[in-house]
């Protein structure tokens, strides 16, 4: 699965790549605007780690834009930041982030959270596929019903015409 890492600090960009590149296909952005362009121009990635403080758009700004657009609304977004007060966490989640990791993070915890994101995305995709096939079945059901209704009405009409003939 593709994973977007948006981080202006080269150190953390490299660290995150090292930690996650065995499990994910990594693409990186060095500022918020580039991150937003990558998100909206592609149907992937469905997973993104966004640093909070970046030149151009901040992580929360990218989050808000992503949530406001149908194409990117379902992207699983993890905000990454040195801020860790309750107010900051609430602000991050309010902007539409799915999860929140503070620096300094532990490698294993970060991996676990990104894996959780992948599971959510995979589940979303399964649900989407299932609801699509459900819609299709329902559509097919409607067609059958319509045929049945038509047949019934024909039958009724036939019966009516017969009974009227007999009654004469």
């Amino acid at each position: 699965m593709k994973l977007l890492i948006a981080e202006d600090d080269a150190f953390f960009r490299k660290i995150l790549r090292q930690l996650l590149s065995t499990e994910f296909e990594i693409i990186t952005a060095e500022d918020g605007t580039a991150a937003w362009n990558l998100l909206r121009q592609n149907e992937w990635p469905l997973l993104a780690i966004l640093d909070w403080v970046m030149p151009g758009m901040s992580g929360p700004q990218v989050c808000r834009e992503a949530r406001a657009s149908a194409a990117t609304a379902e992207t699983y977004i993890i905000l990454l930041t040195g801020r860790n007060s309750a107010a900051d966490i609430v602000a991050g989640l309010h902007a539409g982030a799915d999860d929140y990791v503070t620096k300094p993070f532990e490698a294993e915890e970060l991996r676990a959270r990104v894996r959780l994101g992948r599971r959510v995305v995979e589940l979303q995709m399964t649900v989407k596929a299932q609801s699509a096939s459900l819609r299709e079945m329902r559509q097919r059901g409607k067609t059958v019903q319509a045929d049945f209704d038509l047949a019934s009405s024909h039958r009724r009409a036939l019966q009516e015409s017969r009974s009227s003939r007999f009654s004469r």
């Binding site: 600090d9 080269a10 150190f11 953390f12 960009r13 490299k14 660290i15 790549r17 090292q18 930690l19 590149s21 990186t28 060095e30 403080v53 040195g82 620096k103 300094p104 993070f105 532990e106 490698a107 294993e108």
Partner: protein, 260 residues
Amino acid sequence: MQDKENPVSPPRPHLLIVLAEDDRSTASRAVAAPTGPMLSGLGHTVALVRTHNQVLEHLGQHPFDLFLVDILMPEMDCISTTVAIRNQEKDAGVHLTIIGMSPYPSQSDRKRCLAAGMDRYISKPRNTDELQTVLLAFLNPDAIQNATRPLGWNRNNILERAGGTEKDLRDMVEVFAQEKPNLMAEVNLALTTGQAELLELTALKLGEELAYVGALELARSARDLAQLGRRRDFPKAAALIRGMQFKLGEIDAIMSRAAL
């Protein structure tokens, strides 16, 4: 952008050196270039001293790997300094490598220096190649102290943070060694050009990196630096950066050694 995956190579050994040398001494300069810049050029961290008291003060504050002394120091008798160091070591049970160097080597000086407790007595290196040869002779891993240094750096914690394997730790140390100079250059640029906002932002980044690699004391200094940037207090910021430089060199040394 695409980061190149670098093959893993052990970080270059990095020594903490107390250097007693008087770059104003014409006797020495006539023969050899100043050693300090050559050592820095080779990537080592150097504390330059001129007096007996400065030497003891530095050694009291940090565990150094090497004491390199020009024996023709105008303000210092290297023999009594060596004796003082050896006396102090008796109680602590440690041994600092002391190398005496002379622009005009003689047999009688050699005897006096070795008798006082120096490990080696050499002709003063005239260029980087000669100096490198001397250090390579010294640089066997057993000779490098593995003592825990007083910077609150805990190898086990950081090994775990990095992912748990030795390779994870090496990778982290290597990335830090690659990226830290760029960030420091940016900090210095912000300072010299008076860009308060850049100083604050870069210092915050530096603080996050230092916290990640476990240099907590330095991370706090970086956060203080960000505050000074916000307040546009450039003189205090400059002083704080000067104070951080040495400890940054030290944390480099500690980590590159710990990751070997």
